[in-house]
């Protein structure tokens, strides 16, 4: 997915952007810019997971034109910031694999629930596959969303009593209420 079409911010071609700035104010601005860039990039490429050791393979963290890479420590700092705003979460204890949510789980929950309400699918059983890969959802924003992330969204909805996730053996489904 190297050819992701997004509007690269001017900072992307600005070498100091790729190393964390010591000055607090500059740094917070820098991190904010990084956050938007990362979310934008993952949204455009429809990716949800990020392995921090593979991060430099992604163009977003590696601008070959100016020969700058974001190092792992800086990336971790930014990811932690993203986690604070609900836009990312590590999937393992070593914080090697991260999930990026360009909508927070709650936002996603609302989007999906609104969709379900609109098509009148409350009170019926749907599979995760048909919600993320089905023909009916091709124009929805959550089309092609990672199924693990999708289940997390549904679990969040479940705590609100809006749905119930069904996971038996290899079956993944959900019933909305």
């Amino acid at each position: 997915m190297a050819d992701v079409n997004i509007d690269w911010p001017w900072q992307y071609s600005f070498p100091p952007f790729f190393s964390l700035q010591p000055h607090t104010e500059t740094r917070s601005k820098q991190i904010a810019a990084w956050k938007t860039l990362i979310l934008e990039y993952f949204k455009a490429s429809k990716q949800s997971t990020l392995d921090i050791h593979e991060a430099t393979n992604l163009p977003v963290f590696n601008n070959t034109a100016i020969n700058r890479k974001l190092n792992t420590a800086a990336l971790l700092t930014i990811l932690n910031e993203l986690q604070n705003s609900g836009n990312a979460a590590p999937t393992d204890k070593q914080k090697n694999i991260w999930e990026i949510y360009w909508h927070t789980l709650e936002e996603w929950g609302n989007i999906i629930y609104t969709y379900i309400m609109n098509i009148g699918a409350t009170n019926s059983v749907l599979t995760i596959y048909e919600l993320t890969q089905g023909d009916d959802v091709q124009n929805e924003e959550f089309y092609g969303l990672d199924s693990n992330v999708f289940i997390k969204i549904l679990k969040a909805l479940e705590t609100q009593g809006k749905c119930e996730v069904m996971l038996f053996d290899d079956q993944q489904g959900v019933k909305f209420f």
Partner: protein, 227 residues
């Protein structure tokens, strides 16, 4: 609200039927995936067969087309199966809805029964009787109270009421006010006018004379004299 729902959640709202539907839908998804795969395969085979033909390898192309034909049949079959699955899931879902409808009717019926139980006919009769008694009592009190007034007073009250009603009504325009006195207009001469000025003035005077006798009483004589 979250708390209420949170507590409710202990009882799963997923029924056995839901699980069955899920299984069916899962199966459908798998079939769809299979369907997609065969579709892609077919497309590829066609391309390859074309290439083989161009290279003059007729036999191999034929073999490939045979394979393609077989896969097309498979595709057809999966489509049928998909249809069956969809039908089945719809049937189940519809049956679930029917059950809900029946349950709703049952509950409604029970509620209605309870309400009817609460309202026995004797009760209604008793209530009606009591109401009647109440009305009678009210009338008695009424007559007692209005008894304080003499019949003259009653008449006065009625006439006042009448006058109030009359005032509140809009006035009806009376007949004589309707026809306004329009002054009579002179007749239009039927023939074109001829002759000298005096003739015309004479005519005017005559008309005026007939319509309003007094003021021009003498004038026609004068005119006549002049003539």
């Amino acid at each position: 609200m979250g708390l209420i729902f949170g507590k409710k959640k202990q009882v799963s709202r997923i029924t056995e039927q839901d699980k069955a539907v899920l299984q069916l839908k899962q199966q459908r998804d798998k079939l769809k995936q299979y369907h997609k795969r065969i579709g892609i395969c077919l497309e590829k085979d066609r391309e390859v067969a074309k290439k083989l033909l161009n290279n003059g390898q007729r036999e191999r192309a034929k073999l490939l087309l045979r394979k393609k034909r077989y896969q097309e049949q498979l595709l057809q079959r999966t489509e049928n199966q998909l249809e069956n699955l969809e039908k089945m899931t719809h049937d189940i879902e519809f049956a679930q809805i029917e059950i809900q409808v029946v349950n709703g009717l049952k509950r409604g019926n029970e509620a209605l029964k309870k309400l009817n139980d609460a309202l026995s006919i004797e009760d209604v009769e008793r209530i009606l009787d009591e109401t009647r008694e109440g009305i009678e009592k009210q009338q008695e009190i009424d007559s007692l109270l209005s008894g304080v007034l003499t019949s003259e007073d009653e008449d006065a009250v009625l006439s006042e009421l009448d006058s109030l009603i009359a005032e509140s009504l809009p006035e009806v325009p009376s007949e004589d006010k309707m026809d306004v006195n329009l002054p009579e207009l002179p007749e239009v001469p039927s023939e074109p006018m001829k002759g000298s000025l005096y003739k015309i003035t004479l005519e005017i005077y005559l008309v005026l004379y007939f319509s309003e006798k007094k003021p021009v009483k003498k004038v026609p004589e004068q005119v006549a004299l002049e003539a």
